[in-house]
Assembly symmetry: C2
Homo-oligomer: 205 residues x 2
């Protein structure tokens, strides 16, 4: 059981993380936030920040980990919906777009730091994306009977296309997102179809 003191500390820590997430937007990346800004938004003195994080990097990495987890949990929930029947691709895309709409800033930090200037950040984001890829590769291997290497390449392509579309969607209004989602579905089908065709070609030799 947590003492009064530890509870309060956790509360402040959350306030810091939330403050940072809330300050993210299309015009504001994590790396452009200053320690003082985050502290201000969380209503603590700048120097108190250090009671919770060594520096801004540590806060950022926490956010990436937390964000990746959130995203994966939501996508997994969506996949359960797909098990009821219907196009897996379609349902996954729709789920993804919903996640994007309700947690844009979680996606933003992953998206932006993926091509950021800090190697640890890039590695952390890569790790999160890797989770998506390997979950998907495993799924494809099992249900479509792909060879492991092939399943991997296919999954990577699928995730790349989805992430990229997500980035584009962030800037868009709902109507345009719909068009984007439809096009994305077509592109994902291209990859799926093509992977199948290539696999057959290799087997019949």
């Amino acid at each position: 059981m947590m003492g009064v003191r530890a509870q309060q500390k956790e509360k402040t820590r959350r306030a810091l993380v939330d403050a940072a997430f809330n300050q993210l937007s299309a015009e504001r990346s994590f790396s452009s936030l200053s320690l003082r800004e985050v502290a201000r938004e969380a209503n603590i003195a700048p120097t108190s920040f250090y009671r919770h994080f060594k520096d801004m990097n540590e806060l950022g990495l926490t956010m990436v980990d937390e964000g990746g987890l959130t995203l994966r949990q939501m996508m997994r929930k969506g996949r359960q919906r797909a098990e009821a029947g219907g196009s897996v691709i379609r349902i996954s895309v729709d789920t993804f777009m919903e996640v994007l709409e309700s947690n844009p800033n979680v996606f933003r930090i992953l998206l932006h730091e993926r091509s950021g200037t800090s190697a640890p950040f890039r590695a952390a984001v890569a790790r999160e994306i890797e989770h998506f890829i390997s979950e998907l590769a495993h799924y494809t291997e099992a249900t479509a009977g792909r060879a492991p290497d092939f399943a991997r390449a296919q999954a990577e392509a699928l995730v790349t296309l989805v992430f990229n579309a997500g980035a584009a969607a962030l800037d868009m209004k709902r109507v345009d997102r719909k068009v984007l989602a439809d096009r994305l579905v077509i592109q994902l089908r291209m990859v799926a179809k093509g992977a199948e065709a290539l696999q057959h070609k290799m087997e019949n030799r």
Copy 2:
């Protein structure tokens, strides 16, 4: 004919652009450069910067435009090589990897500002990428007989995969790049094959 004075001005302007390009690296993005840093590297006083650019944004947009142009020119040269025969996909990928290796910073600014915090930057990068996509869509339409909408979706997927691989390649050593390039070729073939299959499916209905 340019007077002595205009020549000198152009030279200094170039020094600024080059200074900025040279300061880019995996650890340093354009948006993290300060006006003073760039001026220092170009050996002019900070305040002289304003004789050439309104602010850092104007310099950055110049770099994006210039970079996009460079990239397209190099890719076009590569495409001529492909006309001699061989796999278009393979040759294009190899060309791209060579371009990447000889102009990493040109690619870096496009890559990073694509998901940056400045709307004008994002728009400028999107414009450059759009050039790649429409050149490719036109090519696919002509040589593979795709329907326009389909060719567009396909080209978009191809370019997305290539750019994404490029981003990954920036961090890698030569050996790993080779593995990456091979996988990229497979992914691009998936898209090409799949687009073909989907197109046939639509025609036979």
